[in-house]
């Protein structure tokens, strides 16, 4: 009999009941809750007079609507305030741990889960948020769900699911200078397309993945959903275990030893079967920039905006270019920017801020940049960055140094693009209107965002002019 993939192992170890129609009842260890996708779930419980199955399986944090400056003023938008207050009310009523806005550990839900040790290897984790795939970087089975399923998990600690197919993306080769995890995942999305992973759980493996930090692995798993796969995952190794040791909610003492022994098995068997295997040679990857309104519309820094290949593509390409205010044949390096956003659940961890700060240190943002902002992913990330003096470097360069939240990744708070504004953004989606109605998003790594801030247009960091280097 063939061995099992990591996904198979996690699925099987949480299987409660196999239905005759091919669906399974699976147990959920952890649910993460934020203010946007949960109010209707709690309301559903109230209407049906249902209780929460296991309070401690859940934790909540407001992140999408949270202001990133002048937080002492509270939330000024009454509609946002009501949503954030509703989360607090629900958490008190249903006895769920909440990291509220002024808690020093508050941050983006996908950043604080791993940071607090609330995300652990071997867990099944869900959240009413598609970027829940992030947590798979720690050897967990994590995926986004809708609000009806949020309610289902609150009431039953289970979900009825059909198992996905297994895909392996094997990543090997030496990374070029200044190529990051973000470039790797954008490259893969460009290659297999935004729907290339639909129906699959994707495991990332290979020497390059093994060499990446946990932060970088999270960036890769985070964007698995941008190729259509709900689940991205990476096997547990020494990096995973070191990352988790001494985290607030991680096990300690004898339990830590037992847990580590158990986690060490969280990898695919050598003879495991995959429905699809993709090989990626990392040495071919250059820094990436998206130019359209779907993450698959991407090329590298030396590239140009493509010409259409057939009639169907023409229409979708033309829609995208009209929206983006760009033309086929334009060099990526000739694209000028208005705003820079370093943040989001994709790239707002300490490693991201360190690498961006190195580039802007001692320099100034270009004159055409109206706003450059750094939004740390969590309170602890912000605190750590300040201990290292990164805030000072960013502020001196002309960046704004903000408080943690989702911010301009989806612009539900006061941080957004005006019509026609163009942004180099370290976030995950370049959809029309994502960062504000009429706003134009280019997805890039923190290195590219920082370089573009200094030069005013996209540039390979190695080509930054001497006086700007």
């Amino acid at each position: 009999m063939a061995g099992k993939t990591l996904y198979d192992k996690l699925w099987d170890s949480h299987l409660i009941h196999e239905n005759s129609d091919g669906t399974n009842l699976i147990y959920i260890d952890r649910q993460l809750i934020h203010e946007v996708t949960s109010p209707q779930a709690f309301e559903g419980l109230r209407i049906a007079n249902r209780k929460i199955w296991r309070n401690s399986a859940n934790f909540a944090v407001p992140d999408h609507n949270i202001p990133t400056k002048d937080r002492y003023l509270g939330i000024t938008d009454p509609i946002s305030k009501l949503q954030v207050d509703t989360l607090s009310t629900n958490c008190s009523e249903f006895k769920i741990k909440e990291f509220s806005m002024n808690n020093p550990s508050q941050g983006i839900v996908h950043i604080i889960g791993p940071e607090q040790g609330l995300t652990l290897p071997g867990m099944t984790i869900v959240c009413g948020d598609s970027h829940t795939s992030t947590h798979g970087a720690l050897g967990a089975l994590a995926f986004g769900i809708g609000t009806s399923e949020v309610e289902h998990v609150l009431a039953t600690q289970c979900l009825i699911q059909k198992k996905s197919k297994n895909m392996l993306i094997n990543i090997n080769g030496l990374l070029n200078y200044n190529v990051t995890a973000k470039d790797i995942i954008l490259y893969i999305i460009g290659r297999i397309g935004t729907a290339g992973g639909t129906g699959y759980a994707i495991e990332f493996s290979g020497q390059t993945i093994q060499s990446l930090s946990m932060e970088s692995r999270m960036t890769i798993c985070n964007m698995t959903i941008e190729m259509g796969a709900r689940v991205g995952m990476i096997a547990v190794d020494q990096n995973t275990i070191e990352y988790l040791q001494n985290r607030t909610y991680a096990p300690s003492g004898l339990n830590w030893k037992k847990a580590v022994t158990s986690w060490e098995n969280l990898k695919s068997d050598k003879d495991a079967n995959y429905d699809k295997i993709i090989e990626i040679d990392c040495s071919k990857i250059n820094p990436m920039v998206t130019w359209g309104t779907s993450p698959e519309m991407v090329t590298n820094i030396n590239g140009i905006i493509p010409f259409p290949k057939n009639e169907k593509l023409t229409r979708s390409l033309q829609n995208a270019l009209d929206y983006m205010g760009l033309k086929s044949g334009t060099a990526i390096k000739d694209i000028k920017l208005d705003k820079i956003f370093i943040g989001s659940c994709t790239n707002a961890r300490i490693e991201d801020l360190r690498i961006a700060s190195k580039i802007v240190k001692g320099k100034k943002i270009a004159k055409n940049i109206k706003l450059a902002m750094v939004v740390p992913g969590s309170g602890p990330v912000k605190k750590q960055a300040e201990l290292e003096g990164l805030d000072d470097i960013f502020i001196k360069a002309g960046f704004e140094w903000r408080d943690p939240g989702c911010s301009m990744c989806l612009a539900m708070n006061d941080d957004f693009l005006e019509i026609g504004e163009r942004c180099a953004s370290t976030s995950n989606r370049n959809f029309e209107g994502r960062q504000g109605k009429g706003g134009r998003t280019h997805l890039v790594s923190p290195i590219m965002a920082a370089s573009a801030a200094i030069e005013g247009h996209f540039i390979n960091v190695s080509e930054l002019r001497k006086d700007k280097q």
């Binding site: 409660i16 809708g146 847990a259 959809f431």
Partner: protein, 214 residues
């Protein structure tokens, strides 16, 4: 949940690939703490020329006359026709809530994103996947015939119209039954309460660290 078995309605052609959930319902409307009332803001950025806000009276807003749902012939449509990867992006169930609240019962596309597809079944919307050849033909028929309707028979998995050969569509049995029976899924799962408790007990012995009190 409302049951759905048979449906006949006007088809609206949304000729785009990768219609994402930000396009279906932009983020400012996700601030609502209710499931209802989102139909007015469906495809807000394509449908109106101004920036929409939750609670706004949409009757007074400037509309984009070019957008299909603003054309008289498609105003009362209840079947949406689109291209590949419909519903990609976020997990927001506000997307099917807005579609359902507008009046859409069926969405036909070349393919759907997983989370959106799953969310449809929780909200009495039937998503149907068809080949690009059939979809091309449906687009042509929809444009060429004023008031073009389709009749959907979920039980027999057929789509019919006198201008067409009957189209057979695939759907997984459990999803079909969810729409036909309109069951309370939580209630269904709670039938297994004893099995869940039994599993939980064993799981806790094997992995005590998963059961810390937060």
């Amino acid at each position: 949940m409302k049951k759905i078995k048979l449906w006949e309605g006007i088809v609206a052609p949304l000729d785009r690939q990768n219609v994402d959930t930000d396009a279906i319902i932009p983020k400012q409307f996700l601030k609502s703490i209710y499931r209802t009332g989102l139909g007015n803001y469906l495809f807000d950025e394509w449908r109106y020329l101004d920036y929409g806000e939750l609670g706004q009276d949409c009757r007074k807003r400037p509309i984009n006359k070019e957008f299909i749902l603003n054309k008289n012939r498609f105003k009362n449509s209840s079947i949406l026709l689109s291209r590949s990867n419909f519903g990609c992006g976020s997990s927001r169930e506000h997307a099917p809530w807005a579609l359902e609240n507008f009046g859409f019962k069926v969405i036909i596309a070349e393919s759907f994103a997983d989370i959106f597809y799953n969310n449809c079944f929780k909200n009495s919307i039937l998503p149907i996947t068809l080949s690009s050849v059939i979809i091309d033909n449906l687009f042509n028929l929809t444009w060429d015939n004023w008031g073009f309707t389709l009749k959907i028979d979920l039980k027999n998995q057929t789509i019919t119209n006198p201008l067409l050969k009957t189209i057979q569509f695939d759907i997984e049995e459990f999803r079909k039954m969810a729409l036909i029976k309109g069951l309370d899924e939580i209630g269904q799962t709670l039938i297994y309460s004893e099995e869940i408790k039994k599993f939980e007990k064993k799981h806790k012995i094997e992995n005590p660290w998963l059961f810390n009190i937060l």
